[in-house]
């Protein structure tokens, strides 16, 4: 594998709230190489969006970030704001989930894309606007020169998401972080946007970190996958490792809980009892233990000892954080 462009080591994010310290992300590692896609999968409260915000350095002031975030070998954590501003939006850019709130309703979309360019390039407004039109055209906005003068409310949801992607791409970033980029979109539009992101990666060799809860999307675009649960990594491996050799009971549960259209429906879906824990509520042992069907077989260890990511024998870089020590079988 090519050298990673983005490396994250032992990332920890703690929020100081009225209710005390909340550990939202509790030590995760990941890396992504140019042109490759890493998917971070998890449910609400798993810390996947907080992780991406920590990498971007855009967390609120009550968040404490520890660990290493290396962009092409350069440490981003602890960098002063003015240094970070030169990198953010330039070398590493974020595509937000909700395009409507990511855009300013008072400015034309062309102005907003141009602004993102002018922040990092000393060019005239006119030249920046020209660049904006070029990007809007690239992301598939028809009649881009004219539409650049329209306001966000004049666009459909899919077109607004394209504008947000154009804004993220305007400086040719080396790393693109997309936080649920298609969740608010219809499935036919989702297919267009995922295709667009794939084209961009092919053309510019952009590394993509895709935050998603949709396993179908992950299967289609990811090279590697990190499954997060309660702020920690449950499993990490290639996309095939996850879908064909899932080693953590939580990953397996997610796969079984997902309804599918390509096979005749099962009478009942496999479920995971209970719901995801709130961050920090599980202090010892495995965070998944209260919902896990295998706890009884492993015993006390799941309650007392926190499992760390451990390589799966003979499966390359495939790792799981589980005391079971063997592959969980499909329960139906």
């Amino acid at each position: 594998m090519a050298d990673p462009i983005l490396e994250v080591h032992d990332l920890r994010v703690t929020f100081d709230t009225e209710g005390g310290l909340v550990p939202a992300v509790d030590g995760i590692d990941f890396a992504v190489a140019p042109g490759k896609t890493l998917a971070i999968v998890g449910e609400s409260g798993s810390g996947k969006s907080v992780s991406s915000a920590a990498v971007m350095g855009i967390l609120p002031s009550n968040a404490e970030v520890k660990g290493e975030v290396l962009l092409d070998g350069r440490e981003l954590v602890g960098l002063p704001d003015d240094e970070l501003r030169k990198i953010r939006g330039n070398d590493i850019a974020l595509v937000f989930q909700d395009a409507l709130s990511a855009l300013n309703p008072y400015y034309t979309v062309g102005w907003q894309v141009a602004e993102a360019y002018r922040l990092h390039h000393a060019v005239s407004k006119k030249a920046a606007f020209k660049r904006a039109v070029e990007l809007l055209d690239k992301v598939g906005i028809p009649d881009a020169a004219r539409r650049a003068k329209s306001y966000p409310h004049e666009f459909s949801g899919g077109m607004r998401q394209r504008v947000v992607i154009a804004m993220a791409l305007v400086n040719n970033p080396r790393v693109l972080i997309a936080d649920e980029p298609t969740t608010a979109l219809d499935v036919t539009v989702q297919a267009q946007i995922m295709q667009l992101l794939a084209d961009v990666q092919e053309e510019f060799g952009t590394a993509l970190v895709l935050i998603s809860h949709d396993l179908g999307v992950v299967a289609e675009v990811a090279d590697d996958v990190l499954v997060m649960y309660a702020g920690r990594a449950a499993e990490r491996g290639t996309v095939r490792d996850l879908f064909y050799r899932a080693a953590h009971p939580y990953s397996l549960g997610l796969l079984g809980a997902m309804p599918r259209i390509d096979v005749p429906p099962k009478p009942r879906l496999t479920t995971i009892p209970g719901s995801p824990p709130s961050p920090g509520s599980i202090k010892t042992g495995c965070p998944f233990q209260p919902r896990c069907a295998y706890t009884e077989r492993v015993g006390e260890r799941c309650i007392t000892e926190r499992p760390e990511l451990t390589p799966r024998p003979g499966e390359g870089d495939h790792e799981a954080a589980c005391h079971l020590g063997r592959r969980p079988e499909v329960v139906s």
Partner: protein, 327 residues
């Protein structure tokens, strides 16, 4: 023939946009001529993208909205013209489960109060035992009766919404995006609950969803909506295995499959859904259709039986041929 719980005939729901004084009034044709029958024991899935009119149709079918024209029959009785108090008997037949359990439960009422409201609306008072029984039906218990909505997780709140709908022992539940606000692992629990309730109580459902896999999981029959009309309808197995309308085919092909490395023929539609203020002439899908010809712009296709399958109908001049038989 089994009993018809719901029958919609050529239902239309148009919303007027009065707009600014200098602009002519416009009409949004949210539902534009839909006929649909739901029989006892069936689960009908209503799928479509945003703006297709599926939620509006659900609200007209429960008579939360008045249809602009057409006829709504519930339990064999014409209820199109009924209003207010006189609709109450029909509420005992049809109930609704809403998308967002956060927004559809009053945060200042305890679960007990929330669950007794439908009884009081019907002029009765529930016993504590009745309320507990309702909670147990949806997998909650007596201890939850005195709690308030904010003390529950999203999945539990949706269970409360379902329990409230079950209070008057309806025969048909109309569920508008019942699981779209839930995490995958919780979504599966609620889908299984709906299946269990169907088996235990003999319930029928209309499930409105944009997620085709969710509908595949629960529905015995499927209706695909586009711009306020049904473009294809039939048994779920047939519609998913052999979609006849180009829109259905494109929609299904766009669903990402959880099979890494498996490439599929995807029909990527261009453009967006046109506005229901000025839908295209003729076939509503023709502006994005890969098969459109001149006739599609002039005459609106109607639902017709295709491939000799009596129950499977599509509104298209050039329906897809059935796939070759698998050996």
């Amino acid at each position: 023939m089994t009993e018809e719980l719901l029958r919609l005939d050529e239902v239309r729901k148009h919303f007027g946009l009065s707009g600014a004084p200098w602009r002519a009034a416009q009409t949004v044709k949210a539902v534009d001529g839909v006929s649909l029958v739901v029989r006892k024991g069936e689960t009908v899935g209503l799928v479509g993208e945003s703006g297709s009119g599926k939620s509006t149709l659900a609200r007209v079918a429960t008579r939360l909205l008045d249809p602009t024209s057409g006829r709504v029959q519930i339990g064999g009785k014409d209820v199109t013209k009924l209003r207010g108090r006189r609709l109450r008997p029909t509420r005992r037949t049809v109930q609704m489960v809403f998308q967002d359990p956060q927004a559809s439960l009053n945060p200042r009422q305890s679960v007990g109060t929330i669950l007794s409201t439908p009884f009081r609306a019907q002029g009765t008072r529930p016993t504590r035992a009745q309320l507990i029984e309702l909670l147990e039906k949806v997998g909650l218990s007596a201890e939850h009766l005195e709690r308030y909505p904010h003390e529950f997780s999203g999945g539990q709140r949706q269970r409360i919404g379902i329990a409230r709908a079950l209070a008057v022992s309806p025969e048909l539940l109309i569920c508008d995006e019942p699981v779209s606000a839930l995490d995958v692992s919780v979504q599966a629990q609620v889908l299984n609950l709906l299946a269990d309730l169907r088996d235990e109580l003999g319930l029928s459902y209309v499930v409105v969803a944009h997620d085709l896999a969710v509908v595949r999981q629960v529905a015995s029959r499927v209706a695909v909506m586009y711009l306020g009309t049904i473009v294809e309808e039939g048994p779920a197995d047939q519609v998913y295995a052999a979609p006849a309308h180009p829109y259905t085919k494109a929609l299904l092909s766009a669903v990402p499959m959880p099979e890494p490395g498996v490439t599929r023929d995807r029909i990527v539609l261009t453009g967006d859904v046109p506005t229901p203020i000025s839908p295209p002439s003729g076939c509503p899908f023709r502006t994005r259709c890969y098969k459109a010809e001149d006739i599609c712009a002039t005459d609106r296709p109607v639902l017709e039986i295709i491939n000799g399958q009596t129950e499977h109908r599509a509104a298209c001049y050039f329906p897809e041929p059935p796939p070759p038989e698998r050996k």
